[in-house]
Symmetry: C2
Subunit: 314 residues, 2 copies
């Protein structure tokens, strides 16, 4: 089942169920946030709408009205679960390895998530504008202390996310130990939130087994695969819930997708490609983004729809 | 003017205006979040209620029904603006100074703020349970790029906050550079959100010029003063808004209050007292909190009401 949110003038928009071919939709009751707050009650009605869509019912989906599936969330916790990414960054910048056997995670801006087709307004090219393609999940309420073994049951929906990042600021903030504020403006999210069962074999081990295809200004940039997470989403959820109850509608991210075979599959962020160039040639060759550049992301199979955005000056 | 939120079964509660003597209240329209979203429109009606209260009208305030002024917020950005605190921590733990001339800030859990009288449920004493007394502000919507010189106009309300912290986890998370997730469970907030004008001379230079009085299990712990912030709240707001629009209802914190004269005025967190003990004696003498311990905080003058809580096992 595919869910989406249509703009209706309110901050949370209107929940719709979308057909498998993503061309039609039927209106559901309330908002995405309300659905994940009372999922057990909401799910049967949503699945009944999905069945009607597959029988040919529904209205033409106006793709221009699609917002992020959760246009705002009470909590966004972003991991960095692909070890190849960290290793490349450490080699390129001669950093000591991060000494931890725990998942890496920070809390980010969650009061707005941009639609996958919206322009991205940022203040300055000098900030080192970059993207990070990643997968994410929306959970229902997760009690404090939930172990990883019980965490997957709390994954209600799976997402494709572009975590916009400002690389001139990121290392300065990272050195403080406090994590990122300025370096992490609002993320963008592909329009369709997909239930794990609808991903079939592509959802297993708490990982999304799909490649994430990135193009920049129409040229191939990378298509690394989601399976190489060191920690699955169940581990990330358990980590997040160790000392807090997770509110329903929490979004948890994988961090930028990155593979051991990076020479062949490329990367999901400029920063990683630049690190690879630094390791090979001593200096980076690929610039960060300029205003007017386009970044497009889509997972193989098209389950989540497309993020296709232009970066513009705020 | 003093605002508060009464429990009414909904997550955001009901907004009330509270009399200067904090004994009476009058119901206002909607919620605290709604008031800060449309402050220009809401403020005259709220001030009219405050005037009626000072003429003797109003209902007896049921202090047991007081929630945190904003029981949940879209964004909580906590600074660490008292340099004495950082210096003591660095001396005690032989850490290099944090190399930055910018405000320190992390994004924390904002989907719930605990009432000032609620028990605080935490999973384990072994996590090093600690408090951090600090001041905070609630802003209206702040456009990206707002300079510090224009930021104070966005401070609508001032708060007293206890930022609960888990010290066994904090340094592990800090070392990753990603900031704190597990080390920072939900904060508690004193019941009254106070407009800057109602603080009179105690609100100037973007700082709260009041001492914050902390007792632990009925014994004096500290009463450091809010004036010694290296960066005022206007600086913290401008820092936060450098690359993002701040949503109305953003809460910005000062970080634990700490003074150069710590030997006389004490501290607002156990961690700092332990650091002082380590510097003086080689080892800390004061333990972290045990389940059953009580922590009480109140700013001089009583403007914000009282935080008085017991720590209990989750």
């Amino acid at each position: 089942m595919r869910l989406a949110t249509l703009s209706n003038g309110s901050p949370d928009g209107a929940l719709v169920v979308v057909s498998r071919d993503t061309q039609r939709c039927l209106p559901a009751t309330g908002t995405m946030q309300q659905a994940v707050e009372r999922w057990a009650e909401a799910e049967p009605a949503l699945r009944a709408l999905a069945d009607r869509l597959e029988r040919g019912e529904g209205n033409t989906l106006d793709h221009g009205r699609l917002l992020a599936p959760l246009p705002r969330a009470w909590q966004w916790l972003d991991g960095s679960a692909f070890p190849q990414h960290g290793e490349l960054m450490q080699r390129a910048f001669h950093l000591p390895p991060i000494e931890t056997d725990r998942p890496l995670m920070y809390q980010g801006l969650s009061d707005r998530f941009l639609p996958g087709h919206a322009d991205v307004s940022l203040p300055s090219e000098a900030d080192g504008i970059d993207f990070e393609g990643e997968f994410g999940v929306i959970t229902d309420a997760v009690p404090m202390g939930t172990p990883a073994s019980a965490a997957l049951a709390h994954v209600k929906l799976v997402l494709l996310i572009n975590d916009w990042s400002l690389r001139a600021i990121a290392p300065i903030e990272m050195k403080t130990g406090f994590g990122w504020v300025q370096a992490k403006p609002a993320c963008s999210v592909a329009p369709f939130a997909v239930t794990p069962d609808a991903l079939g074999e592509a959802w297993r081990d708490g990982r999304v087994h799909l490649s994430l295809q990135v193009t920049v200004n129409g040229e191939w940039f990378g298509h690394p695969h989601g399976r190489e997470m060191q920690f699955g989403f169940h581990d990330l959820i358990a980590h997040a819930a160790r000392t807090r109850d997770l509110v329903a509608g929490t979004i948890i991210g994988s961090g930028t997708v990155s593979n051991a075979d990076y020479a062949t599959v490329g990367s999901c962020c400029l920063s990683e490609r630049r690190a690879i160039e630094m390791i090979a040639h001593g200096t980076p060759r690929t610039p960060f983004l300029h205003f007017g550049d386009h970044v497009r992301m889509e997972a193989a199979g098209g389950n989540f729809g497309v993020i296709d955005q232009k970066v513009v000056q705020a």
